[in-house]
Amino acid sequence: MKNAPWELELIPDASNVYRLIPSHMVKKGSRIPAESMFVPDADGLSVDWDKYATPEESLIRTGLTFRFNSQEFKDPARFMVFKLHVGQVRKLEGVVEVNHTPVFHGNPPPTGRPNNRSHSSVTGTDEEVRLKLRDAAVEVMADIVRVLEEVKAKR
């Protein structure tokens, strides 16, 4: 990853972050995500900061990203967007931080790997935190028609 042209910023407690979760990992009929979707990778739990992303923009970016180990684009219609309040997340025992960690691949970015100024990371999640993140996550409705139109135009 190249050096991002953006300053790293402190995320205020009043902010929200968005987490995209595959629809098949949301319990049918309940619209509640599985705790397993809050397992972090080596860099933490990836989220998008609402200062630089709307739910629609997060989904559009997903639609412009290749699936793992593939040249196929992800289908944004197969994701749901959940909102987490940063102040609430920071109060959870075990959470180390919610940090701004923008992703920059170049200008223009390579196909399938879009830049993401809103990218942020929640670090320090264990079973207690995952359980509580699941209960704190609130589904956000996105205009999926607009998302699909924009993805189609940008691919």
């Binding site: 595959p22 990992m25 319990k27 599985a34 705790e35 397993s36 979707m37 397992v39 990778d41 699936r67 793992f68 180990n69 593939s70 040249q71 992800k74 197969r78 994701f79 264990d126 079973e127 207690e128 995952r130 359980l131 699941r134 209960d135």
Partner: protein
Amino acid sequence: MSGVNVAAGKNRGWRGQQRVKFFARMEKEKQLSLLKIEAMLSSSGTIQMQLEGQSFSLPKELSAIVQEIENSKTILSFEAGWDAENALPVDKEIWLQASGFLLRYALRVFNLFSLALDAPDINPCPNGSIDLSWRTKSARMLVNIRKENSEMLAFFYGDLYGNKMPIKGTVPAGTVEDHLACWMKNLV
């Protein structure tokens, strides 16, 4: 995923990737077909369950848990990248441990208190581990079964909502600890 290297498709073309995916799928289907789970209701009203060498004799009150375990078998067909990111497939050994853990604790709670645990959600995690997740009227709990340093462990957290009476820790996945079983009576 013996004999199949999914990561090997990374530097191949589209056809190469499809070929790797095809063989990974075949391998998974083979694993599933070899998986022996047998549950039947005996004349005495108990459920006899065989889980690859492990035998369980369960009261019929635990039939919802047996059903949830049966349903969760589909987890084993998930291929690498099932979350559209870089999720690992769930190994059969982890699934068997998670199922055995659930049955042993459900049985212990039933034997101690004559209470039938609610069936949890059984979910795969991107790191190849398995979550057992409960939300009941009075309590919530998350148990994660995973292998660490070649030992199969259960990491857990539970409370009565609002951080009341929390329980948190780690136990070997293959044993039953009474302090945990006692707390789990809240999951009914």
